[in-house]
Symmetry: C2
Subunit: 336 residues, 2 copies
């Protein structure tokens, strides 16, 4: 076993330990909060919350708190609250997109109906805010509600841009900044705030989260073209069919000559449900280097994320530092 | 003009003045919170919030604070937050029910699409929690999130009971307690908490709100049978078509003989979209006294609401006391 491998096993064990404790906190909190509630509500929430999520947000919250010097029982509850909110947005998103699957299982709305999905999302949203308010006070709520507001705003921007072949990198980054990056940034900021970290530490972790979040979304958009359905649990080419113009396509448009651009626009404006349209698009994306250059952008974000952790290198908590760096790296390596 | 009439005009003026200030607070808060947001999000929120709502919840919050001795600018912002949450639930409910109209206009989801409606509801929910946390702290969030959790639970109970001819008063009151009364109760409690009212005052106002809320819902359910579409903006008989078994029908079932009960069950279990089924149901409800006895129940709730205000009779704020009593009375008099 190389040093690198033994290192990785150590990291994986640490991650498993943290996510295990977050799930324990979720179960304990649910048992308390759902006392006397309708069994159907309980079933829907269990299904939504314990379906094999990656738990990246709670992990980041725990590590952000930890690297600022605090790691007690309550951080796992705060982490649970952040996962609640994340799951609430997924459940509502799947209703909006009329999605069939999520993480390789039926989406909540498909399985239990739209009413149950909307309401379960609302329940999780309320519970999440309640816990965040209790654990981080008004300052934490402020950070967080700015992010949830931005998230909704990002979804609206995305609706606005759907199927618009004219959008560029600026519009794309405006959407992912609001939709994904701001919530992950605020997750890290909250962890630091909870631990009583200095403004400099809060800011550094917020910046780290923002960059990790942006990289995460770019990779997500890449996986929509490159992913393996067996692994991602998602159908490849979904974004194109739905008219979501993501980075690979935007870069391809920028790189394209007049004829290629014409062809790309025709594909976007045409019947996107035809498999031939998607196949042709993939050929063009490859030719025009859209996939490779988008990946480079994700790498740049990860590099920036790691750089913003530099203020912690002199600190004592090597494990948390190592894990935060690894997570940034994992974002590039993930295939689901 | 009799003393009573001049009294009533004074009350109406006071109500108009309070709701005017709440709407100002809403507009100022939105202008601030929505800076730089997508214009479509702004349009949807404006449409959802300023569509002629009765503003009963914000009014109750202001009066509850006022009667406990505090009435400054911030109470209007708290009241605005409570209206945000109320509107968020209406917008989501209308998506769930696939409703065409609300307050005589197209429902938000119909006008702007389901995606915009779900997201706008989420935005309002987040903003509401943020303001409640800021203005009433963790204790306020606790009160409130218990109520929003109960609301979701009530919706689940309602889903469970839909079309079930076997439900009785117990189940009906369990639903309206969670769905309507708990949020109005917490609105009043929050107003008192915000004002620094004593636990006794908080409890009295919470009880007042609960009873007013219950009466409000019973009258709402009565108006579904008796209302004038011109005035209510709602189609009469909706609840029956959707299989919602409300108090008039439950009472009629209790009063019914064997044959009538059989007929009622057949109507509930049959094709409820047939106008003849609804017409026959109305005849039976009248015969079996369901409508009159349900109204008596609403009157009992209003009486209890007024009774719980007794601890304030020796107080100084006669206007707030008078308005709270009037609102309880208005619940019975309203026809929309």
């Amino acid at each position: 076993m190389t040093i690198n491998e033994s290192n990785q096993i150590e990291l994986l064990e640490a991650v498993a330990q943290i996510t295990g404790r977050v799930e324990e906190a979720m179960r304990a909190d649910l048992a308390h909060a759902l006392q006397g509630c309708d069994p159907f509500l309980i079933e829907v929430l269990e299904y939504a919350l314990f379906g094999g999520g990656k738990r990246i947000r709670p992990l980041l919250a725990v590590l952000s708190s930890s690297i600022c010097g605090r790691r007690d029982e309550e951080i796992y509850l705060l982490a649970a609250a952040l996962e609640y909110l994340h799951v609430a947005t997924l459940v509502h998103d799947d209703v909006i997109d009329n999605a069939h699957d999520r993480r390789g299982r039926e989406a909540v709305g498909r399985k239990y109906g739209m009413a149950a999905a909307i309401l379960a999302g609302d329940w999780l949203h309320a519970r999440s805010m309640h816990l965040i308010g209790r654990l981080t006070g008004s300052a934490g709520l402020e950070v967080f509600c700015r992010a949830t507001g931005a998230m909704v705003d990002g979804e609206f921007l995305q609706l606005r841009y759907a199927g618009d072949a004219g959008i560029g990198e600026k519009e794309y980054f405006a959407v992912i900044d609001r939709k994904t990056a701001s919530l992950i940034a605020s997750t890290c900021t909250l962890g630091a705030l909870f631990a009583g970290g200095s403004p400099e530490q809060q800011q550094a972790l917020g910046c780290y989260g923002e960059k990790v979040g942006a990289a995460f979304q770019v990779v997500d958009d890449l996986l929509d073209y490159l992913g393996d359905k067996q692994q991602t649990g998602k159908t490849v080419g979904n974004d194109f069919v739905e008219g979501k113009i993501t980075l690979p396509l935007i870069i391809a448009m920028e790189q394209a000559g007049i004829d290629e651009r014409k062809e790309l626009k025709a594909l976007i404006g045409g019947d996107r449900t035809q498999p031939e349209a998607y196949d042709r698009l993939c050929v063009l994306l490859k030719q025009l280097d859209g996939l490779r250059l988008a990946r480079q952008q994700a790498e740049r974000f990860v590099h920036e994320a790691m750089k913003s952790l530099e203020i912690f290198t002199a600190g004592v908590d090597e494990q948390s530092y190592g894990l935060l760096v690894s997570i940034a790296g994992y974002v590039l390596a993930r295939n689901k």
